[in-house]
Structures are given as C-alpha cells and as structure tokens.
Amino acid sequence: MASSIRVRATSNGDITEVQTLIQHPMDTGLVKDSKGELIPAHFIQELKFECNGKDVFVANWGTAVSKDPYVKFSFKGAKKGDELKISWTDNKGASDTTTAKIA
C-alpha cells in the first residue's frame, strides 16, 4: 500500500523547501458518529524530519491539526540528492515512515 506520507522536497541554492501531506483522520475524540457514539481520539502526536542524521524539524501536534494534515517548512545545509527521512507516531502508537530524495 502506498505510504500515508506524501512529500515534496525541492532545493534551490542552500535552502530546501519541504511540503508534506499525510493521510490520517486526526480525530479529536469530541465528535459523535452517526449512531451518536463518540469517535475516540486518534491523531498524530509527533512528526519528525531527519536529514543527514540530524533532526531538522520536529512537530508536536494536538487534536486541532486538520484531517489529512499538511505542513511546510524550509531548512539549510542539504543539497540535491540528499535523503530526507519522515516519520510520525500517533496517540494509538501507530506509526509510518518514508524517505524522499531532495529534488
């Protein structure tokens, strides 16, 4: 199955811009389903971006991050072809990881 993480990392000069879209329900635990029962909270808590063995960006998320979450940031010190490792863990202990080459 395709990874839940879509990532686009493009570098120009020394700055690499990273965009990520992750397939995840991000349930708040405050919403009821059609039968009126509360849908339990299920959301990504930590999302890590690692490049050349260093954590360049770490996100700690609560329940207010949108469904299929998106995040964009940039960092220096990487060049075309370097590998970016992205991994997330959610409050149920599930996790997923992927790697992407910087274009």
Binding site: S4, Q23, K54
Partner: protein, 163 residues
C-alpha cells in the same frame, strides 16, 4: 499505511521515541548547546496539550509569558473558508529560534501545534488547523530563550443556509 502497533501502552513508546531523539540530539549537540529552555526538551508536551486556556497552555509549554513583537509575522485568513481546514503560517526575522507554537484560544484545548526548530532550519512554518468558532489565534516564537507573540482574529462560522 504500515502501522506498527506498539506492544506496550503508548506512553512507553513515546518515552522510547523521546530517548532516541535525545541521543541523536546529543550526538551533534544542536539542542544541548542551546541554553536549557523549557520547550526545547524533547518530550511530547502532554501537559501543555491538556490545558484549556491559552495562557495556561503557554505557561505549561514554556514556563513564562510572551511579549508581542512585530518581528513575528502571522498569516491567517480574516474569514475562514471552513473551520476544519484553516491555512495558517508564521515567519519571523528573529534569529536563534528554537520553537514555534500555535494557540487557538476558543478551541476546547488551546495549544494546537508546537514545532521544534533545529539550528539551520528557517524559522517559519505553514500548516492547516481546526478552529471551533470565531477565535483569537496566537503564534509564539521562542528565540534565544525569550518568547515573542503575534495575534490575529479569525472569523469562523458554518456555511450553507441550514438544511
């Protein structure tokens, strides 16, 4: 989605994750070299995410208050197209930034997201947040151990003519 469900309750997994992050951190010292500031520790700020009000959440996360600064540029829509998906971003000209966080005052829990900015990472982030209703949105940037903030009001209401 390859999901590896942790054998033990999530707390164990998070601590494990946090420990490994700390090790890497020590490995090349970007975090350790920074003066010890409350937010830069690597544990998932469980307490801060539990706070209802924005003031309590800031205190729980950073342990002190922030002062407004025009060096923090917060971009958010005036009227949210939809409360479930509000594009929000922040950039700043401050340097030695170690953390950026977003607080949605009127949400059940104010702290929405907190980002740890490593050395060499541009201090800025764009993301999409949920907002329960018309609310004050606060962005906090931690730079060189001090807190700077920017605030904007975002109008949120339901759409449609009400079936």
């Amino acid at each position: 989605m390859t999901t590896t469900t942790g054998p033990h309750p999530t707390r164990r997994l998070i601590l494990l994750g946090a420990a490994s992050v700390a090790l890497i951190g020590l490995g090349n010292l970007p975090f350790a070299a920074r003066p010890a500031s409350a937010a830069a520790n690597d544990k998932y700020p469980e307490e801060a995410f539990k706070q209802k009000s924005e003031a309590d959440a800031i205190k729980a996360l950073y342990g002190r208050t922030a002062e407004p600064s025009d060096k923090v540029k917060l971009d958010a829509p005036e009227i949210a197209e939809n409360g479930g998906v509000v594009p929000v971003s922040v950039t700043t000209t401050l340097d030695k930034v170690t953390s950026i966080s977003f607080f949605v005052a009127e949400n059940p829990y104010a702290l929405a997201a907190s980002y740890r900015i490593a050395d060499g990472t541009i201090p800025g982030v764009a993301n999409r947040l949920k907002m329960a209703k018309t609310t004050k949105l606060v962005a906090i940037v931690e730079a060189d151990g001090k807190l700077y903030s920017a605030t904007k009001e975002v109008k949120v209401t339901v759409g449609g003519c009400g079936g």
